[in-house]
């Protein structure tokens, strides 16, 4: 069986939406990271077989954003590109698709990226307003246009916020935050537990940032038009306190909820990229890989409790790889919400949970906190939806390299009720 390796990965600083990256489009961020990974790995772009980009928002002005990104990054025209969307795990999907394409022999070298500009999620018109505008456009005479326009009523003019639409699951009717509140109920998670977890995430990020751990992961981004360099994530609070967190009000259930903006991942802009190829090709080119993809799995679960996705996906990938959770020396579990991570911790070790939802399976065990998200997680540095899936794999491998570890697990929940999990190894 072929060895599929990740040569190296890089990302932009992640910035809270509405801050420094707010005017940078997703394709600009994507072109930047693709150019960076090509420059850092030193490859000739001509050897690339495919460019795969994960992106959830799929902006209308950059149809097949992967192609736009590839061309803007100077990847030669003959090299094809396509975009993938698996909601919050689109970045991980890009890596998985690259794996599948290489392992099947269809490609040898694939450039992947996961990008999101949540600042640039659009506002939409209501369907009624759109139909009225279409009727106006189709009318031939000025009089007809005026008549068509008279149908507009004030409620039609209220824009629909794209972000809200995107973060609401249409099947269950719950938005992401509400699914977290559902888990709070299911697992009796206290507000305090969530806030403590969040504080810990910020502290870990802060320590890692001070120690310069992100320097070989983040490529400084120069923001037009002044081109001032952004070298650090923007948004994580270096001096977060429990007081700050306790003061915040619940956002998704104003009356009785416990999930606040402080114990949720912030809306964020950012991009990440990685170069994936077959082990043989890496050897031929004299490139030393960061690690290899051992196995990956996606699994479906209840959309109203999407936050438990990691449990289902991890269960599946461990079986695929013939390994146990205790074999994992380092873990990245994407922190969409503190409540959701805590719920996963509880469910993974719960006989009762497994009996009900995964009958015939044994609980996978403990997501040990001492090896989980050791440099902070999405609660601190944000969750640009299409990008995080790639970031957690890259950051996992780089920390494994620092600690000289062999095996790691990256896993995340996915809006719509799925989980993604990827086991990586250092070779």
């Amino acid at each position: 069986m072929k060895n599929i390796v990740i040569i190296d990965g890089v990302r932009t600083p992640y910035a809270k939406s509405g801050t420094v990256l707010k005017n940078v489009t997703a394709d600009t961020l994507g072109a930047f990271v693709i150019k960076e990974i090509v420059a850092r790995t030193g490859i000739d772009p001509k050897i690339v077989d495919e460019v795969i980009v994960g992106n959830a928002g799929m902006p209308a002005e950059a149809a097949n954003i992967a192609r736009v990104i590839a061309l803007r990054a100077g990847i030669p025209q003959p090299i094809p590109a396509y975009s993938v969307q698996r909601n919050c795990a689109s970045g991980m999907q890009a890596l998985s698709s690259a794996y599948a394409q290489i392992v099947s022999g269809l490609s040898d070298v694939v450039l992947t990226a996961g990008v999101e500009s949540m600042s640039n999620f659009g506002f939409y018109t209501t369907k009624r307003l759109k139909d009225i505008f279409t009727a106006i456009g189709r009318s031939k005479t000025l009089w007809e246009k005026v008549i068509a326009g008279l149908a507009i009523r004030p409620p039609d003019l209220v824009p629909v916020v794209g972000l809200t639409l995107g973060l609401t699951d249409p099947v269950s009717g719950f938005n992401m935050g509400q699914t977290a509140e559902n888990l709070v109920q299911d697992f009796a998670i206290s507000r305090k537990e969530q806030d403590e977890f969040s504080l810990w995430s910020h502290q870990k990020w802060s320590a890692a940032n001070e120690a310069g751990k992100f320097r070989n992961e983040i490529a400084p981004f120069y923001v037009p038009p002044k081109f001032e360099a952004v070298e650090e994530d923007v948004g994580p609070r270096k001096h977060q306190t429990m007081d700050d967190l306790e003061k915040l009000k619940p956002y998704f259930d104003r009356k009785t909820g416990t999930v606040t903006p402080g114990n949720s991942s912030p809306i964020t802009d950012g991009a990440a990229a990685a170069l994936v190829m077959s082990g043989d090709r890496a050897r031929e080119l004299g490139l030393k890989p960061l690690g290899r993809i051992r196995a990956y799995a996606f699994a479906g679960n209840d959309p109203s409790r999407m936050g438990l996705g990691p449990v289902f996906a991890t269960n599946k990938v461990l079986k695929l790889a013939g390994m146990k959770l205790s074999d994992m020396e380092l873990i990245e579990l994407n922190e969409a919400f503190a409540a959701q991570v805590i719920a996963c911790e509880k469910a993974a070790a719960s006989e009762q949970f497994f009996r009900r939802h995964l009958p015939g399976e044994q609980p996978i065990g403990e997501f040990r906190r001492d090896i989980m998200n050791v440099n902070g997680g999405a609660i601190a540095l944000g969750h640009p939806v299409g990008s995080s899936g790639m970031r957690i794999v890259i950051t996992l491998l780089k920390e494994m390299e620092r600690r000289n570890l062999a095996t790691g697990l990256a896993t995340m929940c996915i809006g719509g009720g799925q989980g993604g999990a990827m086991i990586v190894e250092r070779i």
Partner: protein, 708 residues
């Protein structure tokens, strides 16, 4: 073989295609005009043609102008006048055709080519990057001679036409539409269909009579009657006299031709245009300007195509030069990695490049998408990422040999063995720098001038060990970048700065002796230099000039020793325009009068003022340049006098109307120059003593190789 062919479609629309055989570019030679004349005669009596579209068969140009080589050899004003008359008559046949005519223009449409298009009723223009319209004749010392001075004002209005004709500037599609020069702008693939459609619509309509430009009301009023028009003429004349200082007769003649036609009618206008161009063609100024034009063509031809393709470049140093170079490379399609010591410096460099793109976009030289693509091609960082893939690296860091050697060593740790290392140094030895290289053959000098986007010259410096293939590759690249490369051998100051320095230091010496900044600078500008010596010193930077002068002094000897004044000003912190303290006073970017503090500084050492005769001011500066140029040839810095002349015209703006420094020397005669130098040496010092080669040449004349 015929240069024209035409087809008539079922609707009676004729399409006439001009495709000059065996040439990349369409030109209006006498043979072409004869053939065109015959064809127009045929077309005029056709019964089936209802409209005519004229287009070019060349992929990237319409018609680039008349044949300059035909004009070059004419010394008789009557012949010149006749050439113009003939051309006017042929183009008049287009205007007289009994059906509408449309010119379909893609690429360069210049000089006679635009005049042909003006004779058509309508012009449709493609929006591609290479489409440009203009009447650049004044740049060659002549004026439009095929009716352009008469047709253009009546189409776009007086002010717009004078702006084009008197400066010879290029107009891009967007502006062309705005001023009514183009009736329609469309993309290249749609050019012919759009022209045919316009022709069809125009069938059985009369030719439009009014001026088609979109002009503000004030301008319309000003241009509408002879009384207020004379105000425009006077203003234009004053500006011309101020700019040209009487050295360039062509713009005044062009103004005269336009005015004559508007006062006395078109027929008289055409006759006057022909008369004036006849006189100009035979004039020495035109001959010299055409000579300079051929010099630029030689420079491009000398840069033979190289098999080496340079697509990825890395630039170290994100200051003004480095950022400017990165912008140039990116605009021309290369991907560029920009590096400096920290992210702040890199960001500043990216900003500089971005600002240059924005400026060029506003001027219409590049479109918004081209500017965006260009910036996409530039990435930067403080490390060596991206340097491994570079075909070429250019270093533009500070003028410090140790720093440059370190940049070289860093580069060689990651670079491919065939990658080229080019240095933008203006004063340090390329050979010395190469000595620190593992692969000295790949090291070459590529000296740009400031500002990079504007200055056409690039000095390509051969180090002792530089591989000829590397020189060829960089020369070819320079042409691709739209620059003019001149290859020189390594030596202090290379070629251009070495020759320029004595010009500057001698001016400073005259100031020390008690002359005035104003007087010296105005005399030098009257001679034709684009700016005075002290304006230039302020622009370059007194600190830079002082340091370079020191390097030249060390390398070339006492004859180029810098005067004390430079040292004193440098020590007092006078760095020129960049820090607002120079020979002149500066308010932001604007130059005011001479700085009285500087004057008093001089007066305090000198005590008295002195007036030096104009001719001596010129002799002392220009003859020293000639001497230095001769030494450059003697010492093998360059072996071709014509290329030396080209370098000085395109590098420092040596007056093109004089044909070049050594052409000027030629015209004066080596004998006279040697005599003057001898005289100056006796009076003022050894630095003037004539070099051996000049002395020998004073016996036969110094022959500047003229282009054939």
């Amino acid at each position: 073989m015929s240069a024209f062919h035409y087809e008539i479609d079922s609707h009676g629309i004729a399409v006439l295609t001009f495709d000059l055989p065996d040439e990349k570019v369409n030109k209006l030679t006498t043979a072409v005009m004869d053939e065109l004349s015959r064809i127009l005669d045929d077309l005029s009596i056709s019964r089936t043609i209802k409209a005519l579209v004229i287009r070019s068969g060349k992929p990237d140009n319409f018609i680039a102008g008349a044949d300059i080589s035909e004009i070059r050899n004419i010394t008789d004003a009557d012949l010149g006048e006749e050439l113009s008359r003939n051309g006017q008559e042929v183009l008049q046949k287009i205007e007289d055709l009994p059906f509408p005519t449309v010119a379909a223009i893609n690429g360069a449409c210049l000089g006679g080519g635009l005049e042909l298009a003006l004779a058509c009723r309508y012009r449709v223009v493609s929006s591609g990057p290479r489409t440009v319209l203009g009447l650049p004749e004044v740049k060659l010392g002549i004026i439009p001679g095929f009716g352009g001075t008469q047709r253009l004002p009546r189409l776009v209005g007086l002010a717009n036409s004078l702006d084009m004709i008197l400066t010879g500037k290029s107009v891009y599609p967007r502006k062309a539409k705005r001023i009514g020069l183009a009736d329609e702008v469309t993309y290249k693939e749609n050019l012919l269909p759009a022209a045919v459609a316009l022709a069809k619509k125009a069938i059985d309509t009369a030719a439009p009579k009014k001026i088609r430009a979109r002009r503000p009301l004030a301008m319309k009023v000003l241009e509408s009657n002879p009384l207020t028009r004379s105000f425009i003429y006077r203003k234009a004349e004053n500006e011309i006299r101020k700019e040209t200082r009487g050295n360039y007769p062509a713009p005044l003649a062009a103004l005269d031709a336009v005015r004559h036609g508007l006062i006395h009618g078109k027929r008289a206008g055409y006759a006057h245009e022909a008369l004036l161009i006849g006189q100009l063609i035979a004039s020495p100024v035109a001959k010299n300007l055409i000579h300079v034009y051929y010099l630029s063509e030689i420079l491009k031809k000398e840069a033979r195509t190289s098999a080496v393709s340079i697509d990825h470049a890395a630039v170290t140093g994100a200051g003004i030069m480095g950022a400017g170079i990165a912008q140039l490379l990116a605009e021309k399609g290369l991907s560029v990695r920009l590096r400096d010591v920290n992210t702040k410096a890199v960001g500043a460099g990216l900003r500089t490049a971005h600002d240059i793109f924005r400026k060029r976009m506003k001027k219409g030289i590049v479109t918004a998408i081209q500017a965006r693509d260009g910036m996409d091609r530039i990435a930067g960082g403080p490390d060596l990422a991206g340097f491994a893939q570079a075909d070429l690296t250019i270093e533009a860091v500070i003028e410090n040999m140790d720093v440059k050697k370190q940049v070289l060593r860093d580069f060689e740790t990651v670079a491919r063995p065939d990658a080229i290392f080019a240095t933008n140094t203006s004063s340090l030895s390329v050979t010395e720098l190469a000595s620190a290289a593992q692969r000295p053959g790949r090291v070459v000098g590529m000296h740009f001038f400031n500002p990079v986007e504007k200055m056409p010259l690039v000095e390509i410096v051969r180090g002792k060990q530089t591989d000829p293939a590397v020189v060829a590759a960089i020369s070819a690249l320079s042409v691709k970048l739209g620059k003019l490369p001149v290859v020189v051998n390594d030596g202090p100051g290379f070629l251009v700065n070495r020759i320029l320095m004595p010009f500057l230091t001698e001016a400073a010496r005259m100031l020390e002796e008690g002359e005035s900044i104003d007087h010296i600078d105005s005399v030098l500008m009257k001679f034709g230099m684009p700016m005075g010596a002290f304006v230039l010193l302020d622009e370059i930077g007194i600190d830079v000039a002082y340091k370079v002068a020191g390097i030249l002094h060390k390398g070339l000897g006492d004859r180029v020793a810098p005067p004390d004044l430079l040292k004193r000003l440098y020590k007092e912190g006078y760095y020129g325009k960049k820090n607002g303290k120079g020979f002149y006073c500066y308010e932001g970017r604007e130059r005011k009068g001479p700085d009285p503090v500087v004057l008093s500084l001089i007066a305090s050492t000198n005590g008295h003022s002195k007036t030096i005769p104009d001719q001596e001011i010129i002799d002392r500066t220009i003859l020293l340049m000639i001497k230095e140029a001769a030494l450059c040839i003697e010492e093998g810095i360059i072996d071709r006098p014509d290329l030396l002349d080209a370098a000085l015209v395109f590098g420092i703006g040596f007056p093109p109307f004089r044909g070049g420094l050594l052409k000027f020397a030629d015209d004066a005669g080596a004998k006279e120059i040697v005599e003057k130098l001898d005289d100056l040496a006796k009076r003022l010092g050894d630095r003037f003593s004539p070099p051996k080669s000049l002395f020998e040449m004073s016996r036969d004349d110094f022959i500047s190789q003229v282009v054939s």
